[in-house]
């Protein structure tokens, strides 16, 4: 396995990386652009965009901010209300698995910011069904959350006729360098369908949709009526309203750690009182108790790395962690099968045996192989040269088999 020479990402990363001649990944190279960007100029560009969309006659909201209640949501809303003087409508897709502290943060938003807040909660029965279907179909029990987060606010933009949507960072740009910061990439139906929804559309999980996918055995009786909130609006509706989603991360120098300190001190944001098993950060993913847990464990099952690699790579790029420290975090957290699993199994009525069996169908043979005793093996970023050589040979032999 090739690892980035600067951060801790493996080539098998969920966001496909490009490595330069020095073995530095595209995520690092895009983050390194930050120091060469004229951020004053970017701020001017942001102001110009915002002025176009500000409701001049006061008849409507100025923009929509999709919020989970997390650290980025708080910072986006701070920036739009206090720095730019906008009246946003906050829109939340509520996936029903909030941590208590996450729920508290969500409620905090309309207390500390002058903003109305619309919270959209899909039927819990439908959510449970989607958890089961998506876990078995693609090894991700949280697919519906990605679909909802990127569809519900866009629907509201159309319904309320509010064209401008303010997102935080473009996640894949930051993690893997999917785009350059000079691209000023915006929200598109194409990017969302391909990457956030992974090519599955809103109606893929209906009985009819699953039949079309060749997986009728996963059907749970869902119909189109159950899944409206996962539907990205039609091209015509987007065009009619002129919906435009921009990413704040393209216009301001994003630093999650500094921003979090700021919103804790000034706006009462709370980090998790408990440490997570699968990462060392306590400020991220508080809107879903499984996002840092077994949802992320599936990433380890698929590609052999997890949230600690994500967070360490971010912190290495921000200059607050060395690569060696990052590797220690990876070693400690990435492989953990976290305890939230038992809550999830109860939530969706599944046994641990079935969970493990389904998990193993998603192991990427480019990453994993089995030894003679049936143990799953992968190479590790901390393996010494000799071990790596031995493992390479074992892996090759198993691939040939």
């Amino acid at each position: 396995m090739q690892y980035c020479t600067k951060c801790v990402y493996p080539a098998a990363s969920a966001v496909k990386l490009f490595f330069d001649e020095n073995g530095v990944c595209s995520g690092c190279s895009v983050n390194a652009e930050k120091s060469n960007i004229n951020w004053d100029e970017r701020f001017k560009m942001l102001k110009e965009i915002v002025e176009v969309y500000r409701s001049k006659d006061g008849s409507n909201y100025d923009c929509i901010i999709p919020v989970s209640g997390g650290k980025d949501s708080h910072y986006q809303t701070y920036y739009m209300t206090k720095k730019l003087g906008l009246k946003p409508l906050l829109v939340t897709y509520h996936g029903n698995n909030y941590l208590d502290v996450g729920e508290e943060n969500l409620k905090n938003m309309r207390n500390v910011f002058d903003a109305d807040h619309l919270i959209f909660g899909p039927s819990v029965d439908v959510l449970k069904k989607l958890n089961r279907i998506c876990f078995k179909l693609m090894g991700d029990m949280n697919w519906q959350n990605h679909a909802g987060i990127f569809s519900t606010p866009v629907q509201m933009a159309v319904k309320f006729n509010i064209p401008l949507i303010i997102w935080g960072e473009h996640g894949r740009l930051d993690l893997g360098g999917q785009f350059s910061l000079d691209d000023l990439v915006e929200m598109t139906a194409k990017d969302i369908l391909e990457h956030d929804k992974r090519g599955y559309d809103w109606d893929s999980m209906t009985d009819v949709g699953l039949k079309k996918l060749g997986r009728p055995e996963l059907a749970e009786g869902l119909t189109a009526k159950d899944l409206f909130c996962f539907k990205y609006p039609d091209m015509e509706d987007i065009a009619k309203v002129g919906v435009r989603g921009i990413f704040l991360g393209n216009y301001i120098e994003w630093d999650a750690n500094k921003q979090t300190d700021f919103i804790i001190n000034d706006f009462g944001f709370k980090i998790s009182p408990e440490p997570f098993e699968r990462t060392y950060r306590r400020m991220s993913n508080l809107d879903d108790m499984h996002e840092n847990g077994i949802h992320d464990y599936l990433k380890f099952i698929k590609w052999g790395y997890g949230r600690a690699s994500d967070h360490a790579s971010k912190d290495i790029r921000l200059g607050i962690m060395t690569r060696e420290e990052g590797i220690e975090k990876v070693k400690k957290h990435d492989h953990i099968k976290s305890k939230d699993l038992y809550r999830w199994l109860k939530y969706v009525d599944m046994t641990e045996e079935e969970f493990d069996r389904v998990c193993n169908t998603f192991r990427d043979p480019k990453v994993w192989w089995q030894d003679e005793d049936g143990n799953w093996i992968k190479d590790n970023i901390w393996d010494d040269v000799e071990t790596q050589k031995q493992k390479d040979e074992q892996h090759k032999a198993s691939l040939e088999k």
Partner: protein, 263 residues
Amino acid sequence: MLKKRLIACLLLMDGQLVESIGFSKFLVIGNAIMAVRHFNAWEVDELVLLDINRKQNYDFGRDDVNYNNKIKELSELIRYISKSCFIPLTVGGGIRSVEDIHKYINAGADKVSINTAALDNLEIIREGSKMFGSQCIVVSIDAKKQPDGTHHVMKNFGTEDTGIDVVDWAKKVEEAGAGELFLTSVDQDGSYKGYDIYLVSSVANAVEIPVIASGGVGEWEHLVEGIKKGGASAVSVGNKFHFTEHSTMHAKKYMRERGIDLR
């Protein structure tokens, strides 16, 4: 007067769609099928698909997705995407022989784009245009500005200077039977500063066949310049169409509003 065309250029590396910055830095945008489906719906006139693979390293496309992310062979990819492509599709990359042309056309390409093979032996253009017709043969030229203001034809993904003057080369391939030229400025590629207008106009003025301007679009105004100032018959955009919603529709609207008669 023929109608002008707007072209989306899709660059492929390791089977994945990439954005190219100065022919040297690449970022992986995703799978070609999604771009093909959306750009078709977004009213672009033609698609050009160029495989710029160097290492043949197809590993690690995630496969927990509802599209084929594991295709390792260009003709297989052409077959896959051409089912969703209802506009002319030009394919280039690694074409070395008339058999290769045949293979790609068979897989679903409407035209092929030839670069290195033509520089190695012009015979492929003569034979190809005889067999498949000139309209099927696009010659792709990567040009680099020289200190004296002229441009040289570059080889090997823009890294090797052939010393050949671009205008001389354009005339030569036209004579050999090329139906169209896909002209990329190595200097402007990924710069978002606009086409090299001098390059476009010097080639467009020297040949009768259509010239497609490529490399450097950052504003829709650059498309208008490529046609009005450069004299291009068609304008191509690589990176920028991936960045905004309904990008190609907005680009066409902008061009039409400035009096360009588009297809």
